[in-house]
Each structure stands twice: as C-alpha cells, then as structure tokens.
Symmetry: C2
Subunit: 481 residues, 2 copies
C-alpha cells in the first residue's frame, strides 16, 4: 500500500499555478567534459547505467494524485514505481553543437510541461556538445524542489574524486532530511509562506500595516524601495507558454576583485552587471522606463527578536539605477539601495519578516489577494538570485562538471528571471524568459559580459588587470535561444 | 485587419477534445536520403532556407482565437505572422542514430502538445539518422488537417524531379481549394459529420434505427459485424498523455502478389498482417479475448441513391479473426467480413451512410451522446487505415524521400492506431499507441513482419518466391519507442 501524504499549502500553490502558459517547473543545466579516455559509447553506457536504478528516494518517487469524490484534496503518493526509460532521456544536438544549439534545445525542453500523471521530473542527457562535452538538463516541478535544494541534491549525485564511479544516481541518493525540514533557508521560506497563508487575511493586514509604516518613514532622498514602486516594463505583462534561455559564465575572481575594489558585496556586482545589461537591452528596444528598474533579491536574515532558530529569508527591493548612464554612479546607487533595504529588514521581527515575505512571494497572494497577474504594477521588475553552489570540482562518473546554470520558471508579471549559481571558482548566469515578451534574450547575456568589462574599466586602477583572455572566453561560453 | 472565420462543428469538436492526456494532433514522419554530393552543412542550409519563407498559406497561417465576452465563440484568424524559428526546428538523434533512436524521439515529440497560442503546426528536421539519411516530423492539429489532406500538402512541397530545388516550402505552397472543399473524400466525411451533428438527436435516432434493422437481419452465421460488438481489450481503456511509436516498411509488390494469390484485396492483406500481429501480441500478454477483435476500417463508397456527387466515406467493421490460429482460415474470415460489410454499406442511401458514419466517427457523439470515453464497450478495437500516397519518387531539395509514415492521434477507448501510407512501390506502417496502455509496441511491428511472412508461406505455392532479402530489409527498417 503506497504511503499518501497531503500537500502543504506552498506545494499546493505551485501546483495550482500550473497552466499551459505558465508551467511551474525549474531546471538545472549541467555542462560536463567527457573523460579523456572515454569510450565512444560513454554516454550510452551512462544512460543504461542510470536506467538500472531500482531504489528511488523522495521526491523522485512521488506522484500527485488529484482529488476524488471521497478525498476532496490532492495527495502525494510515495514509492511510485518509475518508468526510467521515460524519465531518463538521451538526446543530441545538431551540428555544430555549440552553445547556440544548446540554448535553443534547452529553451524548447523548458517550454514542454511535465506530465502530471507521473513523478514530476525529467533527466535529459544531451550528446554532441562541441569540444568533447555533453550536457544534462534536469527538470523538476517547483512543488517538489527549489533552487537551493536542487543544487544540493545534484551535489550528492556527484563525487569530488575524479575516479569515483560509485556515486548513486540522483534519484537513488539518500537525501538528508534537513533538505526537507526546518533547518534550511528554503524550508524556512516555505514555513513563512505556509504559516502566513494559514491566516492569509491577518498576514495581509500585518504586511499592509508594515508597508504603510515603512512608507511613511521614507522621503524622496531615502534610497529605500518598497514593493510596488517598480515601473511597468516589457518584462511585467502577461506571458505565453514558450521560453528563451541564455547563459553567461564568469571567473568568480573577477567579480570578487571588483567588489573589493569598489567596496561593495559580490551580490551588488551581480546586480550592477545585470543593471548595465538591462539598461542597454531596454534602451535598444526604446523600452527603458524613466524610473529605475527594481530588482527582487532573495536575502537571508537573522531576525533581531529571534537569532536562535537560524536565518529568515525575505526579498529585498534593489534600485537597479537603470536611469543612470554612468556605471560608477549606478553601482553606488545600487549599493546604497541594498544596504538600506537589508538594514530595514534586519530591524524587523521574525513574524514581520515572514508576513512581509509572504505578501511578496506567495504565488496565491500575488495572484489572487493582490490581483496581479501581469495586469497591474509589478511587485518588482525582475528577480535576480544568487545561489551558492559547490566550491570544489565535481565529477559524474569521471566526467568533470564544468558549469552549472539555473533554468528558472517565469510567470505572468515576471517574464524574465536572472539567477546565477557559483561553482568551483566560477559564477554561471542563467537568463530565462518568455519567448514572446523577451525577444533577443541572447543579447542580454552578451550585454552582461560587456557590463562587467565596463565596471572593470571603471573601478580597477590598472586596465592591465582585465584579463582579456578570460573575458573573451566568457563571451564565448554562452548559449541562447 | 486579419480575416476571421468561425470554426465549423468538426473543427470545433477536435479542438474541444484536446486535453493533456489526449492531444489531438496528427503527424507524418518522412525519411530522406541526403543527396550523394551533399555538403556537410546541407541540413543547416535547408533549415535556413525554409525559415526564409515570407508567404504563408492556409492552414499554416491561421491561429485559434478563444471566445471573448463580446464574441462568445472561437474563430480562426488568418494571415497570422509566423515565428519560423519556432515552427521550423532543427534536431538531432543520439548515436548510433538508428530506427530505435528515431522511434523514441518521434514518440516524445508526439507526446508534446501544440501551443494553442500559435498556428497549430511544427516542422522538425532531424539529423543524424544512420546510412546518410535524415528525417522530417511534421505535426499538425487534427482541426486543421487530416491524413489524406496532409499527404497531398506534403506532396506539393516536393518535386518529382531529382534536380529541382524550386519547390516552395510546405507552408508557402499554394493549396488547391479542393483540398478544403467538397470534392474530396475527407471533406465529404467532414460534411457528413457536420451535417449529421447539426441535428444530432435526429441523426442518432436514424442511426439507431438503422443499427436495429441491420441487427435484426443478421444471425449467428452472418459474417456482418456492427459497431459495439467488439470485445474489451487493453487497447480500449483510458489513456495517458505519453506515446509510443513504431514503424514497418514493406515492398508493395509482396502485398499485391499475396492478395492476387489469395483472391482478396490489398486492404484484406493489410488487415490480415495486423490481425496476425495483434493475436500474437495479445497472446503474449495473456490478454487475447475469446471473441475476435474488430477493426475499424475507413471505406470509400458510392451511395446507391446518389452516384453523381462522388464517394461517401464511412467505417466498416472488420472481423480480425484473432481467435483463429490458422492464418489461412483467419484471412478467409477477414475477407468474408469486409465483403459483407461493404455490401451492406453499399446498399445504404447517402443519408443513411452519413448518419451511420457520424455516430461512429464524430468525436462529440462518441464522447457525450454515447458516453464512451474508454469506460464502455468500444465501437471497434483498433483503427486500421490505408491511405494512398504518391506513386512516383519525390525529392525535397534533391534529397530523395525514402519512406513516409503516419503518426496518428490516439484517444480514450482507442489507445492504438495502425495506419499505412503507400509511396513509390512501398507500404509504410505507423503504429501509434499510448505509452501506458500499449507496452512493447515495438513488438507489434516486429510481429507484423512475421505475420506477412507467415501469410506468404501459407499462400504462395513456391516458398522460393519469398524474397528473403526483402523480408530481412523490411525487418531492419523499423523504429520504435
């Protein structure tokens, strides 16, 4: 008799949001080098090996069961028997197998919804990537995973030992219960949402009061931005069901050096790179608003009233200063804005943070309570997340992981998502967008690289320190569609 | 201002049937040889060339517009501007690029629904097929095309001259209006459905009377089968959203020779091959019913009261004699059954035929009036269609078309579809099935080849005439998933 469990409210919200124009899955694109001595059928063997798994762990073995007349709520059924020939797929890129072909394939795969009559994940092994590489695209529904948990799960299915081939398959690797319990930042966020939404009316009330208090305390010169102060942009309307995807990969040392010299955080540099790219991208389309774009930045906080139970997660509103042409001044405004936002959030109690977050983040709150859905002013213009990943090189059956890119969900009102993963000394950006609302997404990735170079030229005293070789390599390492 | 037109009832029915577990698109898989002197980037050039089209013909340029408060019915909007990078796709097979890899890819592509916010078609060019070949998978929604019209459209986008590269792209080739008017068998069928369903109650009444009359006239020894006399099988339950696909390709001369020797039609041989394969396939799964399976066979008729207006199309019920072990006796029963069924249909008036057909074929009638949907006895067990195609070799920009396979829609109550296209001296079978209800579909294709060999061994006086080379080649030419 398979175990059944009810969905928590957050899981339910992700499921309820799913629609053909808004599939709510998230994915990771992993790029590997083939081992130097790999046999020609290395990937066929890997696929065959992975399909031999017989043990499946949560959440890979659970399936959604819709409500029935006798059970008027959906449940997860565990220990579902997996059809691995379905879930584990072997694909190939057309020639020349460059980042462009990869980006187009990922965009198409990411546009296809998951099959809700099966466990909500797919694992695609993609051969034919130039320079002796291959890729893996792992897609999971947002109701069973989030970015941080996904990265940790992937990490456990690889080894730091180049010769170790004993790592269990992703779906067979035992997952420490912390990943699903109350000790991680992500599950804190889930708890915040769930708790707040249990009493949605009161949470909305508290958050509204908080919002009004904050608003009353700021004046024109205060760098603090609040939700719903963002201008309308092409990224904030209704979306269709098709996606675009582009990537950029940077040497982390470049970002760190820049942040030290400019006296700001790595996150601020991530924002400044994105801001510079967004400014040029929108300008080119005659679509740059007069007011600055607002980035929604997930932040991890220690509430002042409750430092014992680990961090609380919320969203800070960052002024991206896209109305400012000077890159130096733009970065300064970004830094002021994030510093002030974090300061305010750090002064809040845990309950205040959780309610504040719930009103921003909860899909249901966004969709229904506040009647957003891409028809009203956006809570912010674009999500810009920075997810920490493994710092040491990892190997999948002797194939070295070269880079790891997030492929995110977009939704009505949020047609563009910028997320980066750090891994082994590099920072890898995934740009996920709606095909219709965000044309020429590839250019955004290109302009990001140029925005980084511009910041380096501005802040680094000796232009010689810009390692042209690295910059060019980074420009070469992009995929798009 | 784009032209708008209302959907006819048949189009509307196909659209209304669409659901995640029952996408209502049909497709054709075309296998080509690369020209002998093809440049390495032949396919990239072909893709680029096809994407340059600027003229688009019906039905490729029309998009479905859902009802609005001011227009409470859906319409087609013509002259929609196409995003050809979306509709025309370049894919590749993983190595070794055999029929197995092709079958798995086609099964996956056929499981993905079309995007209803765009014109309802996709054209996939697939590289990496072994022996210097490539494939094209053309998917269209059943509301804008049927099998026969699809084959004719494809034909017009190719040339019978191996050196002709001037053929317009499929979506730019002017289509003679007959294809959409009342002169073809397919549009007759559409007219029959539409006409009958305008007065659904009366049509149902007439058909029921007809059914009762026919039933009263037959006794135990009469080979005539009527709708709803089929046994329940694994092919006739509810389906999921994923597909399997397998193919077989035969030299048409083998089929013709067999039909002449056995004194039956080519269609009877197609049925006998399928019947032999189905018998073994079901036996192996301990799922062969005691009563014979019933095949639903589209037939073209000249109504006795109205021979002037071209043929009427209906469905004959064929006894597949799957309860009979002896292949000779099995073919005899099949022939008796189809002869009797056609005889009865030929005695009907045009109105009787059309009403009779409507009750069998109309998706809405099946789904609602008769409350089928894979929960009640099936109208028949499996559709077996034989669609005539081009008799001369065709070329797409100098690449020779080697074979052309139908990839059909399946639905609740009809989880398996067997359709074959004839082309240039060969007969190509496409087996389309629900992934969950029809496991090991590939074996059905293999057993079909063996059923043909068995018939040849039974009927052809000199076993020497079985061309072993051809038989082996046919066995080799199958794809599956």
């Amino acid at each position: 008799m398979p175990a059944k469990e009810r969905l928590d409210l957050n899981e339910f919200a992700w499921i309820a949001m799913e629609s053909p124009s808004r599939p709510m899955h998230v994915a990771t694109l992993l790029v590997y080098s083939l081992p130097e001595d790999a046999e020609p059928d290395f990937l066929n063997q890997l696929v065959a090996h992975l399909r031999q798994s017989t043990e499946f762990v949560n959440p890979f073995n659970k399936i959604l069961r819709r409500p029935t007349p006798l059970r008027p709520y959906p449940v997860w059924e565990r220990n579902y028997d997996l059809d691995l020939e379905y879930h584990v797929r072997h694909l190939a890129l057309p020639k020349p197998g460059g980042e462009r072909e990869l980006g187009m394939l990922i965009a198409r795969l990411h546009s296809n919804p998951l099959d809700f009559s099966r466990p909500l994940w797919e694992y695609h092994i993609i051969e034919g990537l130039e320079n002796n590489r291959f890729a893996v695209y792992l897609k999971m529904h947002h109701s069973i995973v989030d970015g941080i948990a996904g990265v940790r799960m992937l990490q456990r299915s690889m080894s730091s030992d180049p010769d170790d081939t004993s790592s269990p398959a992703l779906w067979s690797a035992p997952i420490p219960e912390e990943l699903f319990e109350d000790k991680t930042t992500t599950s804190r966020l889930r708890r915040a949402l769930t708790g707040a939404r249990r009493s949605a009316a009161s949470a909305t009330h508290v958050a509204r009061q908080l919002y009004d208090t904050l608003k009353a305390g700021i004046n024109d010169k205060d760098p603090l931005l609040l939700p719903y102060q963002a201008p309308m942009t092409i990224f904030n309307g209704r979306i269709g069901g098709q996606r675009r995807f582009a990537t950029q990969n940077y040497d982390f040392a470049r970002i760190r050096k820049l942040s030290k010299t400019a006296g700001c955080t790595v996150n601020d540099i991530v924002l400044a790179i994105s801001a510079g790219a967004l400014r040029r991208f929108l300008q080119e389309q005659n679509a740059l608003p007069g007011r600055p774009l607002v980035g929604g930045i997930p932040v991890s906080l220690k509430p002042k009233d409750d430092q014992s139970a680990g961090p609380a997660v919320s969203y800070a509103m960052a002024n991206l200063a896209t109305n400012i042409a000077d890159p130096k001044r733009r970065l300064e405004v970004i830094c002021e804005s994030t510093r002030r936002a974090k300061g305010v959030l750090q002064d809040l109690s845990r309950e205040e943070i959780e309610n504040f977050t719930a009103i921003i983040m909860s899909p249901n709150a966004m969709q229904t309570s506040l009647n957003l859905e891409g028809r009203t002013p956006p809570v912010f213009n674009v999500n810009i997340s920075n997810v920490p990943g493994p710092t040491e090189p990892l190997y999948l059956h002797r194939a070295k992981l070269e880079a790891m890119y997030p492929v995110s969900a977009v939704t009505h009102g949020q047609a563009l998502n910028i997320t980066c993963y750090s891994y082994n000394g590099s920072l890898s950006f995934g740009y996920s967008g709606c095909r219709d609302s965000v044309p020429r997404l590839q250019r955004l990735a290109v302009y990001s690289g140029e925005a980084l170079e511009e910041l380096e030229a501005t802040f680094l005293p000796d232009p010689g320190v810009v390692d042209i070789g690295t910059a060019k390599a980074a420009r070469g390492k992009k995929a798009s569609a």
